[in-house]
């Protein structure tokens, strides 16, 4: 992979999508946080196209980073949109572990079991 493929400067993307906000209303969102749409709740009528796409993507469980990749938007920006949709009851955080809490030994043992089955 060439250096240019991983690292480049480009014009700052507009934060118009988040009404200028750079930070989400909650700080528990991480790239691996699992999200799922609340059943039967379509995006609000006032939703932007990105919010609608986001809710539709989350009809099954996906991590925040996956949603960002499919939307072709930065993770930090999608975190703001997600946070709003959680606040409005359209999305739920499926993985409810707290931020800053490391996985316990039991979880790591299960990860090992899974990897050994490859």
């Amino acid at each position: 992979m060439s250096q240019g493929d991983e690292y480049r400067d480009h014009p700052v993307r507009s934060y118009v999508l988040t009404s200028g906000r750079a930070h989400p209303t909650r700080n528990t969102l991480r790239p691996e946080t699992l999200l799922v749409a609340v059943d039967g709740r379509p995006a609000p009528t006032t939703a932007t196209r990105q919010q609608r796409d986001l809710v539709r993507l989350c009809r099954g469980t996906l991590a925040l980073a996956e949603v960002a990749a499919y939307l072709a938007l930065p993770v930090s920006l999608v975190a703001v949109l997600v946070s709003d949709l959680v606040d409005s009851g359209h999305l739920t955080i499926r993985s409810n572990h707290q931020a800053h809490v490391l996985p316990g030994r039991d979880i790591l043992e299960k990860v090992l079991d899974g990897l050994r089955n490859i």
Partner: protein, 202 residues
């Protein structure tokens, strides 16, 4: 950036039973094979997001930090390791100027695979320095074997990289799924020896 939204195809959503995610970082110099390793283990086509960071470059104007914004690509993959747990692997360049990106990513991570190319071992120094200075994260060093890689004994590599005797060093062919999984296994086993992971289930 293309504004078109791509849709996940069938099977790309996680199973409804998955309610926990765990992540590891895959770090290393440019072109060392981070995405190759992620690709070989991932159950989905590796995805890419771009993150905007403010680089700590010299001459930055504190009143106009957005002028110094840089985009860094994050390639990542996913592996469902049990009915309830998905493992995410995030590949990121490890250099100091990307620290802002790292800091958020490192939070809550099980650890990092540090990929090293023995043809340019010095390219790994900065990444290892960052890990040791700025995190308490467990890490394992992965020697990605390229066809023309010199075959150094492991202990010579340990000395060259100034690694602790306990730090795992794994030889790996990042294109090979089993070989890449073995590197992840070594990392998680190493993490289990850290006090931070000894406590009761979170």
């Amino acid at each position: 950036m293309d504004s078109a939204t791509s849709e996940p195809t069938a099977g790309q959503h996680l199973a409804p039973s998955v309610a926990r995610s765990v992540k590891v970082l895959v770090v290393g110099a440019f072109g060392v094979g981070k995405t190759t390793l992620i690709d070989s283990v991932s159950e989905i086509e590796p995805l890419r997001t771009e993150e905007q960071i403010t680089t700590a470059s010299v001459g930055i104007d504190p009143n106009h930090p957005e002028k110094q914004t840089t985009t860094v690509a994050l390639d990542f993959g996913r592996l469902t390791v049990s009915e309830e747990i998905a493992l995410y692997m995030f590949g990121t360049p490890g250099q100091r100027r990307f620290w802002d990106l790292w800091a958020g990513l490192a939070d809550g991570a099980v650890g990092a695979l540090v990929m090293v190319d023995t043809r340019s071992i010095e390219a790994s120094f900065e990444v290892l320095d960052q890990l040791e200075l700025r995190t308490k994260m467990p890490f394992a060093v992965v020697i990605n074997q390229f066809p023309d890689s010199p075959q150094y004994p492991v202990e010579r590599i340990r000395a060259a990289l100034d690694l602790l005797p306990t730090t795992p060093i794994v030889r790996c062919d990042a294109r090979n799924r089993t070989s890449s999984a073995q590197a992840l296994i070594q990392l998680v086993e190493h993490a289990l020896t850290f006090p931070a992971f000894q406590k009761a289930p979170a």
